[in-house]
Structures are given as C-alpha cells and as structure tokens.
Symmetry: C2
Subunit: 252 residues, 2 copies
Amino acid sequence: SAHKIIFLNQKGGVGKTTTAVNIGSILAEYGNKVLLVDLDSQCNMTSSVSADSSLPGSYQLLEGLTPARKLVQNTSVENLYCIAGDLDLAGVSIELAQDESRNLYLKKNLSVLENDYDYILVDCPPELGVLSMNALAWTKYVFIPMQCEYFSLEGVNLLVRTISNVKRVLNPEIQILGIGFTMYSKRAKLHNEVVEDVSSFFNSLVFDTKIPRNIRLSEAPSHGLPINVYDNSSVGGKAYRELTKEVMSRVR
Amino acid sequence: SAHKIIFLNQKGGVGKTTTAVNIGSILAEYGNKVLLVDLDSQCNMTSSVSADSSLPGSYQLLEGLTPARKLVQNTSVENLYCIAGDLDLAGVSIELAQDESRNLYLKKNLSVLENDYDYILVDCPPELGVLSMNALAWTKYVFIPMQCEYFSLEGVNLLVRTISNVKRVLNPEIQILGIGFTMYSKRAKLHNEVVEDVSSFFNSLVFDTKIPRNIRLSEAPSHGLPINVYDNSSVGGKAYRELTKEVMSRVR
Ligand SMILES: Nc1ncnc2c1ncn2[C@@H]1O[C@H](COP(=O)(O)OP(=O)(O)OP(=O)(O)O)[C@@H](O)[C@H]1O
Ligand SMILES: Nc1ncnc2c1ncn2[C@@H]1O[C@H](COP(=O)(O)OP(=O)(O)OP(=O)(O)O)[C@@H](O)[C@H]1O
Ligand SMILES: [Mg+2]
Ligand SMILES: [Mg+2]
C-alpha cells in the first residue's frame, strides 16, 4: 500500500508545491510509481508536470462521482502521475460547510488508489480550511516545508497544534514526517537564527538537508518540468535528491 | 474620507503583508493618519507593527458587535493604527457560508471609520474566498503585489477577472491601483521575462518601482517594526519610499 504524504503549511509561498513536485519526480526516477494530487485551486502542481487542469481532477475526486482511476493523468515524467487541480476547489469550503463529514471526502475517494502506487503526494493550498483538513484526515505523513523567515516561524506552532488535534479526533495514524527548510541562504543571519530556533525546539523532526535558494527551481515550472528533468545537476536538483533520500529512509 | 486600498493576491508569499505594512508606515511618516486592518488569521501584519492579536480585532469587526473604534490599537509607529488579525478568521468562510450577504460584513462595519483616517489599508489572506471578497466589496483600490515568478504569472489573470466580476456585481467603484513587483532580482532572466510579460499586457497598471529582494525587509518584522523605522536607508527602505510616492500620486 502506498506511502501517503501531504505537503502543508498555511503560510503562503514557502515551497509546498516545489517540494512535493520535485520529491515526487525523484522518487519516480528511482523506479517508484508515484501519484501527485493537486488540492490547490491555483493548480501550480499540475502545470509543474505538464498535466491539464481543464480536465476533471481533484474537485471531481472529492465529489466522488467519477471513479478515481479515470482522473489520473500522465505527466512529463515516467512513473509520475497526477490528479489535476481545479479552479472549483476554491468553492469547496462553502459548498461543504453544512456537511458534518466535510473533512472525509478525500479519504473516502482516494483510498481506492492506494494499492496502485508506491507513493501518493498531496499538495495543499496555503490554509488550514476544509481542503487541508481533508488531506490531514486522509494522510499518514505530513511534510512541513518552511522558509527560514520570521513569518514562517510564527505559524509553525499553530500548524503543529492543528496536526496533534487531527491525530486525537480525526486520524490517529497521522505523524509529522519532518520539517524541511526551503529557500535557505547560509549567509543570512536571520535564516540561521530561524534554523537554530526551530531545530532546538523540534530536534530530529527537522530534515538535515536544507534546500538553498536556486533560480533554476523557479525556472523549471515554466517549462512544465521538475528539477531532476529540467536541470538535474543544479544546486537545487542536488539538494532535492538528498532530501528525497531522507524522506525514503523515514517512511520505511 | 479615507483612501481605501486592499493588498490582494491568492498566490501565497508574494509580499502582500510586507507591502501593506511598509507603505502604511511611510504614509504615516509623511503625516497621514493611517489604519491597517489585518484580515489574515496568520496575523503577520499585526506582529509587524507590534500590535496584539490576542486583543479583539478584525474578527469582531466582521461580527459587528463591538464598535469599530474600540478595536483600533496603537502601533510601534506614530500616526499608524491597527485592527489586529485573529485566529478565528480561519473559520469565517464556514460560519458565513449560508448567509447571502456574507461578503458585505466588512463594508457594513468598517465604513464608520472612513472619516477618521487619510488611508485605510487591508491585508488579505492568500485566497479569493469570503474574507477576500469582503475586502473587495468594501474597497476603492486593489494593490496587486506580485513576485516575478512563473506561479505568480499563472494566477494574475484569474485575479484580474475576479476583480472585474466584483466591479460588475458587488462594487462598481472598485479599481486596480496597480501591480507592484516584489523580491525582484535584476540579474535573474526569469524575473525580467515575467516583468516583460506582465508590463506588455498590463502597461501603465504596473508600478515603475520594483521592490528588490533585501534581507532587511524580512528581518524588520521580527523586531515588530516597518522598514522605515527598522532600517530606513536600506535598499528595501528606499524602494518602498519610491513606491509609496507612486501610490500617493495614483490615489489623487
Ligand atoms: N529553493 C528555491 N529557490 C528559488 N525559488 C524557489 C525555491 N523554492 C520555491 N521557489 C519559488 O518560490 C515561489 C514559492 O514557492 P511555491 O509556489 O512552491 O510555494 P507554495 O508554498 O506552494 O506557495 P502557495 O502557498 O502559494 O501554494 C515559487 O515561485 C517557486 O518557484
Ligand atoms: N523584498 C523582499 N526581500 C526579501 N524578503 C522579502 C521581501 N518581501 C517580502 N519578503 C519576505 O518574504 C516572505 C513573504 O512575504 P509576505 O509574508 O509579506 O507575503 P504575503 O503575500 O503576505 O504571504 P501570505 O500569502 O502568506 O500572506 C516573508 O517572510 C517576508 O519577510
Ligand atoms: Mg503551492
Ligand atoms: Mg501575508
């Protein structure tokens, strides 16, 4: 059965999509069958791998009317598949507001695919609302991407508290896979202070590999390619390879 | 009556909070009486100016039970005031889902303060949901902060379409104040391509001043100070002064 990982942080722009896509693609390169699920109405994950957000995708997955297998698309990478994001996701919290079991749609409809893949990676929007709660209710692991900045620091305690509440009332098997730093500049004093703060508090939860700021990582999505295809030998490509190895050793 | 500006972009981490806070503080330095309203449950704007998010704030403003004047706090800057963000904002879209007039609470309750200030600036969360719709229904101007990156490019057309729909059905006086580039690196080819793309399409809507990436801008919030107080002569401080001048000339 598949390793289930969500990429979640309510702080915007911390590298959730970039991390999910690149770890997913490197896992696929190693021969794993990997499914990406784009749960964000921005559809950034979808375009990062040249999938098509105008085709039925994760909104229909939540709805449960279309068999999940029919929603899976090929991507620009072998062994890597994708259920596309959808603009209509933006309306889900209002549509499901009155529904007691509004947080359980993903769990109900994605489970049928768990035996078809080695990894299923879900990209979350920058919120802790209904979409992210659906991901939290379904998953085994939470990967927390984090910038080494003050605003990111402010939000991480709330995020960890939310995950422990989910564990208590919604999903007892959930665990934090780890906290991964992105866009790290080793010369910046602020970045080192934040890393220091978070590492002393969360200890071994923090991944050893810190992803440096690298323009090649932000160029790759405009070509619809993950970093290991776009520029494998870049600083960003190497760092994501290291981080993916850490992820693989933690899910065993 | 106050100039009303919201800072909106559903893409996360593009510099909404940083831009609203620094423009607000520079306007206050010039002698304007400025109110900041933090409509994001992350409360980043609130902590940027040393206001207190544990006191009643924008959640109570939407609720309409507490007179708006009682929700206004002092900040670390003279002439600059703030209605704090609140964790409970995260639940608003569910709480108001069934309410036909869910988008009109801010307009109803913030209007009473419009004669007390020269500028009222609202920081929005990274979404186009109920909270952002409340801001769109209330405001005269929308400032669109934008990173010079591919994912930001993907979202800007949807944002502009949303604003024109709001103009048609909810708020006929709304207009786009401008698109402002943040975290710009002039050496990055991608950044120049995005600037080129957006400028050729949106022309004079794009502000001349591009805010460069400058670590002092991300250090300032950890001290609870805007850039013109924390490090006025920094590259970031100078750029925000220039941008503020452009904003002042556009609202006349
Ligand atoms: N290590 C890096 N170096 C340089 N740029 C990066 C890096 N990681 C991400 N980026 C760029 O930074 C921006 C934010 O990253 P990304 O969109 O992945 O964050 P996110 O958390 O998914 O954002 P959102 O909250 O909007 O979903 C993107 O434009 C991306 O291309
Ligand atoms: N010009 C800049 N140079 C360097 N860092 C910057 C700059 N502008 C913003 N930052 C930093 O980048 C991060 C994102 O900025 P900010 O939080 O203001 O964006 P936002 O759009 O408000 O994010 P969210 O979508 O989460 O509300 C913050 O850590 C901020 O300190
Ligand atoms: Mg994303
Ligand atoms: Mg913000």
